[in-house]
Each structure stands twice: as C-alpha cells, then as structure tokens.
C-alpha cells in the first residue's frame, strides 16, 4: 500500500472543465495523446491500430450522454474525463508497489513507471475509470497534468499548461491552482457553481466541472411582444410612411 503525501505545499493543480461550452470535439483527447505518446513514460500504444479491433491507451476521453430533463426536450451533454487528481486518491493508497503516488508539491497524481507491475489494482480502485492499461506495454497510464510541460523551461511560459488546455478550441478547459482561492480557476468555480464529480465517493477530486447554464425551450413564452407595425397607421405600408418621416 502507498501513502498519500503527509507534507504538502497546499498547492492543488487541476482542471476546470466547462460543460456549458464543451462541444465534444475531441481536440483535447487527441492533442493529449500526441503530446504524451512521445513524452512522460512509455508511449501511448495502439494495438491492432489498422485492424479489426483497434485499442489504444488514452489519458483523456469524451463521453457523450443524452439526458432528458423534466419538462424539457432531450439534450446532449459532452463530458470530458481524465484523472481528477483526487486529494484522497484511492488509486494511490491501493498501489502495492508505491508506483502510484501523489505529489506533495502540487498534488499531481503520477505513476512511477519503473515501479509499475501492471497489476491494474489502481484502475479498479478509481471510481471514475480514469486510468488505462497500455495494451502494448502493459503499463498503467494516466493523466500527468502534463507535468513535463507545466514547468518546462524549454517551451515558452505561455505554453506551460497541459496540452488539452492549450489546444481546446471551445476554450472549455482551464488550468490552475485550486488550492488558492484567489486563482482564476478558483474564482471561476465560485462564480459558476463548479461541482465535484461523484462527491459521494469521498475522493475529494481536485478537478471541477462547471454545469451547463439553463436553456431556453421551444415552449418558453415570449416576455414582450413588440407592437404590430400596422395597428394605428392603416396597414404595414401606412406604418412605412410614418417610419420614413422619422429618418
């Protein structure tokens, strides 16, 4: 069993994902894969890549749901999901070798691949299904929050954010320190009522989701009908005279 860090800086790096803006385009999913397959740890392999049953490992996936709210027509919600870097991360405490660990410095949950035996217990313990066993290398892969980008002095400062955040065309993904109530991401969470995913699991995820804002439905009544143009003035063309006068 592995311990969570006893000493921390209080810094909790994570993602804030806006479900009101995510169009489910998979940009984050693929950009994550292309960054990470040549980056931290083993590549993200693809088994039977051109075959009948291609299976690859991904650190981030989009799940698409159809939901039917009360008294409203069905709608689609796109739900991107990757490791939530939980404060009480069950994937860490379950790890028999100490490969899975949570950093005290910034709260990122990582797998030390040199110690991973590919037993898969962590994936089983994660209630979110956020870890994937690489089908080719048989090593556990998970979101690193692009730990090889966010401090990397070989790339411009503005780019020192996770690849998924940098690439998101709908700008639905935000990165920052959720341990600092004054950070932009913390303010966004406060403003928009950011939520934990499955709080009942007691994992205290760092990542937050911003809920979709309320929709207008086809049966929403009209608040103010503009007056018809043709009332007092003898039909539309009569209105036209008075309107042209005013120009």
């Amino acid at each position: 069993m592995t311990s969570l860090p006893t000493e921390t800086t209080g810094k909790k790096l994570g993602l804030v994902i806006d479900l009101d803006t995510c169009v489910g385009c998979h940009a984050c999913v693929v950009n994550c894969k292309e960054w990470n397959t040549g980056g931290y740890g083993a590549p993200l392999g693809d088994e039977d890549a051109y075959g009948a049953d291609p299976v690859g490992s991904w650190l981030n996936r989009i799940h698409t749901f159809e939901v039917t709210p009360d008294n409203a027509p069905a709608q689609i919600v796109h739900f991107p999901k990757s490791c939530l870097h939980c404060e009480d991360a069950p994937c860490v405490t379950v790890c028999p070798t100490g490969a899975s660990y949570k950093r005290g410095e910034d709260g990122i949950v990582l797998v030390d691949e040199s110690m991973c035996i590919g037993c898969g217990l962590c994936a089983w313990a994660c209630p979110y299904g956020a870890r994937e066993m690489d089908p080719v290398e048989n090593i556990m892969k998970k979101c690193t929050l692009c730990v090889d980008r966010i401090y990397n002095e070989n790339i411009p400062e503005v780019d020192r954010v996770p690849a998924c955040v940098r690439t998101c065309p709908a700008q639905a993904r935000h990165f920052g320190d959720l341990g600092d109530p004054e950070s932009d991401v913390s303010k966004l969470v406060a403003e928009r009522g950011g939520m934990d995913l499955m709080p009942e699991q007691g994992t205290r995820p760092v990542n937050k989701y911003l809920p979709p804002r309320p929709k207008t439905h086809s049966n929403t009544p009209l608040s103010k009908q503009a007056a018809p143009a043709d009332k007092a003035s003898g039909g539309f063309l009569g209105w036209l005279d008075s309107a042209l006068e005013k120009l």
Binding site: P5, P43, E66, I76, N154, T220, L222, W239, L244
Partner: protein, 954 residues
C-alpha cells in the same frame, strides 16, 4: 517547506526545431507549429503539432484532426511511387513505375486531346486548396471541364450570398463574435471554419450572449446552444421567411439601411405579359430609377437629393407603371402563407417559438444597438461620425444549402440579415477580405474550347444573366460535361462534380477521353449512388474498351478512388509540400485582417519512409503543363517556366504586380502589389507561414459602401478600382432567367425546363418543397435521413488515422425514439433503411435529441473493405456504412421519362439532404452492414501495433 517528491525531469527536451506551416487535416487551414525531433534512424521526425498562437485563423488552438496529423503523415496508406494499373479497374492491382514513365504517359494522353478537342479532358480536383492554380491550368489547357468539389458541397451558400450581397459565410465573412448580442447558427459541418466557430462560440458564452442552434440534430454546436430549433430538413427557408413575416409585421426593419445600401427603392416594371415585366426600370441612358417619395416621379437612383419612395406606383410615359422593390417584398412576405401558424406543421417549429425568436432578433438588432465612435466616409462622399451596429448575427453552411431549394433558402437568410441592417455592421455579419465582391466584380464562366488554345478566361465564374450560359452551337446542348451553366443549373458557379462520371459514362452531352482527378473520392463517399459510380467506372463498351477510356488520379493515400485509376500520381502529405492559400482563391482572412499563407516541406518526403518517391501534385501539374507546352508554363525556348510549385508561388503574376502571395513582394517591403520577390517564401517561413495586414480602423465596417475600404482594397491589390455593391433584395438577374423561360427573352430553355426555371428563379427569395420529397410517395418514405460531419474526422481521410479511427471507427444510424417505437427497434438492432433508389443494412442507435422525423449518421465513416490499407474486416467496412447508397444523382423519372439531376435547379448543388427513407427491422439480426463490396487490394501492409514516439521516451 519540507516537501520531498520523487525526482522528475521538470524540463525534458521537447524538440530540436519548430517549423510553422498550415494544417490540411480539414478545410479550415489553421496555422500549426510542427515540432521536429531527430528519430532513431537519425532522420527528422514529427514529434508534436500544436496550433500557432499568432495565426489569424486558429489563434493557437487546434482540433482533434489537426492534433492527429502525425498519424496522417505516417499513415501506412500513403502512396509511395507512381503506379500503373495492371488488373481490371476497381481491384487495386498496380505496378509501381518511375515518374518519367508516368509523366510521359500522361503527356501523351493529354497532348493528343489538346491538339484535337481539349473538352475531352475532364479535370476535376475535389478538395483542392489551389483552385486558382488548377483552374488556370485548365484554362491554359483549353478545357471548360474543370471544377473542384464546391458543386457537391456548398455552392448554394456561396452563390446565394454573392448574388444577394456580394459575400457569403465562412471564407468570405464571419459573425462579429465580440459584439453580437444574439447568434443563430444553421446546419454547419464541423470542417467549415471549425476552430474559428468554436472560438467564437466560446467568446459569446463568456460574454453571456445567446446562441440559437437551428438543426434537426442536437449534437455539437447545437448541444451547447442556449436554444435549439429542431427543424425538419429542407424547411429552413420557410422558417426564415416566417421570421421575416413577423419582423415586417412589427415594423422591425432598418429602413435607413435599406435605403442606403440595398435595391429596396429601385423601381420594378409592372407590365404583366411584357418582355420587361419584373425588370428594373432604367432611363434611356441606363440609369436605375427610383420614385420621389412626395411626387412619385421617377428619378435617378444615384441622385443624392432624392428621397426615394419604398411604396406606391410610379407612372412613366406610354402608360408604363413600376413599383419599388420594397413594396413587392413587403406584400409577398406579409402574406398569411408565411405566418408562424401556417409554417409550423411543415417546419416542425412551434408557432410561438418562431414568434418569440423574431422578437428576440428585433430586440437584439434595435434595442441593443451598438455605436462605435469611429468617423468614416461612404462611397457617395457622405461623412458619418460613428458606426451604428445591429448586433444580431447568423451563420449557416451545408445544412441549409445541400437541398434542391438551398439557393433560395440561402438568399432568404441573407434577406433576413439585410432587413435588420446587420450586414457588415458592428455586431452583425462581417465581410472578410477580399470580400465584398459582388457578381459584377467576379469573373464570368468561359467556354469556347478550341484545339491548342487556352480559354479566353477562367472556366468557372458567375453568370450575369442568361447571356452568359455556355451552350454548344445549337444553343441548347451544354458545353460542359457536367452540364454546368446550362438550363439544368444556370448559376452553377462551382461546377457539378457529382455529375461528371455519370455524364461521361452516358456520353451525354459528349464522351470524354481522359478523366483527371485530384483528391476526390468519387468511387465512394464523394458520389451519390456510389455503387452505380463504381459500375460506371468499370463499364466497357461493345469493343471491350472502358467507356471512360483513361483515368488519371492524384492522391496521397490508397483511397477507394485509387482502385479505379489507370495511372496514379502519388501526392505528398501536407507536411511535405508547398502550397499557397491565396487571396486569388479561398483565402484565410478574418474580418479585421487580410491574410494568406503557405505550406512548405517541413520534412523532406525522401526522409520519411524507405523508397518514398512522391511529388506535390501542383508541381506535377506545372511539369505536365511545360511538357504539353501550355502558355504561361513554358518559356519561349520550350523549357519549363517554373521549376516547381514554390517557384510558381513566388514568381507567377496573375496581373502585373499581383501574384499568388500578397506578402513581402518587390524587395520584400511591399504588400498586396509589387514585383515578384524570389525570397518571398523565405519571408513567409520567417513569419510563421503566413502574412497578415490589418484593415484600417475607418475601413472595418460597412465595407460594401465604405470609401476607406475601397481605397485600401485597391492599394492592396484586392481590386483595381471602386466596386459598387448594392444589395439585391430583388434579383434582376434571376428575373431575366424567368423571362427566358416565359418565352419573352432569348435564349429560351427547352419546353421541359420552362416551368422549373420559372418556379426556381423567383427574384425574391421563395421556399418550395424539396424535389425528392415531392417526386416520391411520402407515405411510403416518410422519414428524412442525413449525415453530419463529426468534429474529429474529415471526409474519408480520417479512417487511415490510427488515432481518429478509435473515435469514429464505425457509425450507427441514429433513429428518433418515436420511430424506433413505431418500428420495434432497440439499440444495436440491425435495420434495413431504404429509399426509392436503394437499401442499406445498418445498426440502430436510439436518440431523442433529434427532429422526430429525421434519422442521421456520421458522414464518410464507412469504407470499402481493404481501402486505405485497413484490415478487410475493419469496423469501417463491416459496421460502418455510407448513406450515399440511398441517394441517386438523378431524381426518379417523371411522367415524360425525363430524369432531373438531384440538385438545386439554380446552382446545381447536390441535394444530399433531400433524402427520404423508410426503415424496418432486418429479418435476420446479423451483420455486416450492407452493401458490401469485394475487398480492394492493399498497396502496403500496415503494422499491427503503433507506439508512436517510443524512441523519445525513457
């Protein structure tokens, strides 16, 4: 702090070099930073591709397709060498040959045609991004038979816009995202401006502004829209005209704007039965006339002192009478025919929702008016101290245009924008340079093919009226193989690529000798009736010769179309090539920025695989041009004028001082105009692959009437003098076609076409039911079926991509739950979907967030077994399917036996989305999807596993 974490390299090496070029993973043309890193073999490899933050299109972001570029670039489906067919067509049996043999053969085939009858070459270039060059090549060759894929994509959108207000959506304009109060988006494919639209939607959301999605399917952009209008396909025009009905009723139209910028006050001759009925009244010198509001006397429209009437009768000498356009318009759309209650059943949109949306449009436009304190001067010399905006904007693409009523629907949408005064104003729709560019500033189409002679002008263009149609000497038979610019489709400004193979096979209007295509998967997803097209390509005549004698095809990958080629010219990937995204073509400008860009070989193909021997198609075309001795491509001594496409990009001049690229001309210090600069491409590379020039503040809005814009556009080489642009609420050009059909003017269409021209060429936007819907039994085929492009896949290209195919490896038919209940269908069931033309077997997925009469699937996921070098049992082949098998390029026979093209009667745009179907549970509940085809032979064996980047990981 006392925090001790395990050691970690915080700054690992990323790449050896960043090379900035332009993406080609779809049609958006975003700027990309390609990280190059040395691979295990010592050769440069692509480590990572990200968006270029400085680029005007994507401003740093990159979509799923762009992010999967590595897998496209290293795809095992890449072609490696020229190939000559050795087996029968369609099998995929080839022999690799050297370039010299390939080019000699092509030169022999093409040279024979050019010296006898250049029309016998049909040259069609699919998803080509170099049409100003390929079209010029066709012109120099002397064949009118050239087009790219616009005719089966979105020509209605482009032509509807240009004929109405001298602009269009996407490449020619964009919503004013930072100022709009309300935004409405109709049927948009994800590959059309996808990153800019997502950035724009995000900006609207940040600003808390409302987004309305009008689409039968509530996915993608419609999933995040604040309001969804789940419209019935093909009825958008009716919905829009109902919005117009309501706006007129409320008097919510911008009369000042209409008087200044549109033909609303122009007088239309009212002379039923006369040859001038419906034409614009002009004086004897040809000046357009309006009526003075007080006296109703005719005055010149150009007279600044006149206050023109918008209603009433103007009497001329000899009893002639005319009325202002606006009166005709108001009377037409105020008719009860367009009341919300009367359109609700057909459109599937509740009347109250239509009424509320009309009110919201009016409120945004007139109660949230935007004022920018920016003085400007209009083209009439009037000075304005501010810019007033009507902040409501719209965007639309194939969803409204891929119907047989699409042209008029697009016009209706633009009419709506113009009536509320929201074209090129703050908060509305904004032109992108070089637009506005109305019809009279566009080229005309050119025919008149003669042996060994170039055409007098470009093959494609915008007809001004019936006089610009292209007929053979008999005055009826089309000049073009696709029958563009004939009575079948008079305003077919992008050609009709979807008719080429069918017509060439039927030898109607004449046979062709060589079919030369580029990047167009015509034997599969880019054709209607895919099986039929495959058979036409395989068809032999009584002598056993192929009916279409010779097929040359250029592609980078082993697509379905490769199998049908006699000669295959292997193209490079987008990271190995030169390209110019030119202002002469479909540029990448944004409303505030004139821009163009290049691609350049960020990696050398020879280093990217053993034995890789490919050439960029445009360089090959220039080589062929020189071998054929085409003017413009050959020096006086007969040698090639251009070494390759890069040479052409820098040194070709379309007119003195204006060439394919606008930036760094002359000595590198002049932009827009200037002598060719041999160092121009280096300058682009140094600047990140693109050029941009910012439009002056006083020229940013009202470009259709802004003197500062006109001056700047001339200075930058976008136009050579002032261009008048009066918005055509009423299209006199269309009325001229009607007059021909009514027998009042020449040339006249054959009897068979008259009524169709009269119905479709209404000079004011109209709605009529889509043709397929009216020509088959709606009782038998009660449902609509259509496709959407997924955000993570661009037409057929994506399936060879090891990453993208894991996202969209197969496609179910999404069927509304009410239809499932009626037909006893559950998730995963196999069902038979049929149209009047064919039947397919598909797997069903229930869905509720969709129009109740409309089923849909993802576009172009289904593959022919073995194509793209995928496993013959790949899910794309066994569980994926094409809807194309249900769609015919011809409509069902009419009573007289005549079969019309399944296209818009105005522009010839392929009417993909008119499809009507029925569905039933398949008697046997087993796959695979049907139809299935014999496997295409692979050109190479693909690896089993991929572990990209392993060489760089520890």
């Amino acid at each position: 702090m006392g925090v001790h974490d395990r050691d970690l390299d915080r700054s690992p090496h990323v790449s050896d070099e960043i090379r900035k070029t332009t993406c080609y993973m779809c049609a958006c043309r975003c700027g990309i930073n390609v990280h190059i890193r040395k691979g295990e073999d010592g050769q440069p490899k692509v480590r990572y591709i990200e968006g270029n933050r400085d680029h005007p299109v994507n401003r740093g972001v990159l979509c799923a397709k762009g992010s999967a570029g590595i897998m496209q670039h290293y795809s095992p489906a890449r072609l490696m060498k020229p190939m000559k067919r050795v087996g029968p067509r369609g099998k995929g049996e080839f022999q690799e040959i050297e370039w010299e043999e390939a080019l000699s053969l092509a030169t022999e085939w093409l040279g024979e045609i050019r010296s006898t009858d250049p029309r016998k070459l049909a040259f069609f270039t699919g998803r080509d991004q170099s049409q100003s060059m390929t079209g010029w090549w066709a012109q120099q060759f002397g064949t009118p038979n050239f087009a790219a894929h616009g005719g089966f994509c979105s020509v209605n959108m482009a032509a509807g816009g240009i004929y109405t207000f001298g602009g269009a959506f996407w490449e020619f304009g964009s919503p004013d995202w930072s100022k709009s109060e309300l935004f409405m988006i109709f049927g948009v494919a994800e590959d059309h401006d996808s990153n800019p639209i997502k950035l724009g939607l995000a900006e609207m959301k940040r600003r808390g502004k409302k987004i309305v999605g009008v689409n039968p399917v509530r996915t993608g952009y419609n999933a995040i829209a604040d309001e969804w209008v789940g419209i019935t396909p093909g009825t958008d025009g009716l919905f829009i005209l109902s919005l117009i009905h309501e706006l007129l009723k409320m008097g919510k139209v911008d009369l000042d704007y209409l008087l200044r910028y549109t033909n609303a006050p122009w007088l239309v001759i009212d002379n039923p039965g006369g040859a001038d009925h419906g034409l614009i009244a002009r004086d004897k010198d040809g000046n357009i006339l309006v009526a003075d509001r007080k006296t109703m006397k005719a005055k010149k429209a150009s007279d600044k002192k006149v206050k023109p009437a918008l209603k009433g009768e103007c009497k001329f000498a000899r009893g002639k009478v005319a009325r202002p356009v606006f009166e005709l318009l108001a009377n037409k759309y105020l008719s009860d025919e367009f009341s919300p209650e009367n359109v609700t059943e057909r459109t599937g949109v509740p009347a109250d929702q239509i009424r509320r949306l009309a009110n919201e449009i009016a409120e945004a436009a007139f109660e949230k008016e935007i004022v920018i304190e920016q003085p400007w001067t209009d083209v009439k010399g009037e000075k304005h101290d501010k810019m007033i905006g009507r902040p409501v904007s719209f965007h639309a693409m194939r969803g409204i245009s891929a119907h047989s009523n699409g042209f008029q629907t697009c016009r209706a949408l633009h009419l709506l924008q113009i009536l509320v005064g929201s074209i090129d104003c703050p908060g509305g729709f904004r032109f992108k340079p070089p637009y506005p560019r109305p019809v009279h500033a566009q080229p005309k189409p050119h025919g008149g093919s003669v042996a060994n002679t170039p055409l007098a002008g470009p093959p494609l263009g915008m007809p001004r009226g019936p006089e610009d149609l292209l007929f053979q000497e008999d005055g009826v038979t089309p000049q073009r193989i696709d029958r563009a610019y004939s009575w079948d489709a008079p305003l077919s400004a992008h050609g009709m690529m979807h008719m080429v193979i069918s017509n060439a096979h039927a030898r109607d209007p004449y046979p062709v000798d060589v079919l030369f295509m580029y990047m167009a998967n015509m034997s599969w997803n880019s054709s209607m009736n895919s099986r039929g097209v495959m058979q036409m390509l395989e068809a032999r005549d009584e002598d056993g010769e192929y009916v279409i004698p010779k097929i040359i095809y250029a592609d980078a990958y082993n697509s379905e179309m490769v199998a049908y080629a006699d000669l295959v010219l292997p193209d490079t990937t987008y990271l190995e090539r030169h390209d110019c995204i030119s202002l002469l073509d479909r540029p990448i400008c944004e409303p505030d920025v004139m821009a163009d860009s290049i691609r350049w070989p960020v990696v050398d193909p020879a280093t990217q695989a053993d034995g890789r021997d490919v050439r960029g198609f445009q360089s090959v075309l220039l080589d062929l041009g020189a071998r054929l001795g085409l003017p413009g491509m050959t020096n006086e001594d007969g040698s090639a004028k251009y070494a390759d496409y890069a040479d052409y990009m820098a040194n070709h001049e379309r007119k003195p001082g204006v060439g394919p690229l606008a930036g760094w001309r002359g000595n590198g210090d002049s932009h827009g105009r200037g002598a060719p600069n041999p160092r121009q491409i280096d300058a682009y590379i140094e600047n990140g692959g693109f050029f941009e020039a910012h439009i002056p503040e006083n020229a940013r809005y009202f470009k259709h009437a802004n003197q500062h814009w006109q001056d700047w556009a001339v200075e930058m080489g976008l136009q050579d003098g002032p261009v008048e642009n009066v918005f055509n609420l009423y299209s006199e050009a269309m009325r001229k076609f009607q007059l021909c059909a009514e027998g009042k003017a020449e040339p006249q269409p054959p009897e068979s076409h008259r009524q169709r021209i009269i119905d479709a060429f209404d000079p004011l936007p109209v709605w009529y039911p889509t043709f397929e819907g009216t020509q088959i039994s709606e009782e038998e085929y009660p449902y609509n079926a259509l496709t959407q492009r997924p955000a993570a896949m661009y037409h057929s290209w994506g399936s060879q991509n090891a990453w993208l195919r894991q996202i969209h490896g197969s496609n179910p038919m999404y069927v509304p739950s009410n239809i499932c209940d009626a037909e006893g269908l559950e998730d995963g069931d196999w069902a038979l979907v049929s149209s009047y033309h064919g039947e397919i077997r598909v797997q069903v997925k229930r869905m509720k967030a969709v129009n109740a009469n409309t089923m849909w699937t993802w576009n172009a996921i289904g593959k022919r077994s073995g194509a793209w070098n995928l496993d013959p049992d790949a899910p794309e082949a066994k569980k994926g399917f094409l809807l194309n098998h249900l769609i015919n390029e011809l409509l069902p026979p009419k009573g007289d036996g005549m079969r019309w093209s399944n296209s818009d009667p105005v522009t010839g745009q392929a009417a993909w989305f008119d499809l009507k179907v029925k569905i039933r549970k398949a008697p046997d509940q087993e796959g695979p999807t049907a139809p299935q085809f014999e496997s295409q032979k692979k050109s190479r064996t693909a690896p089993v596993n991929v572990e990209y980047g392993k060489e760089w990981t520890k």
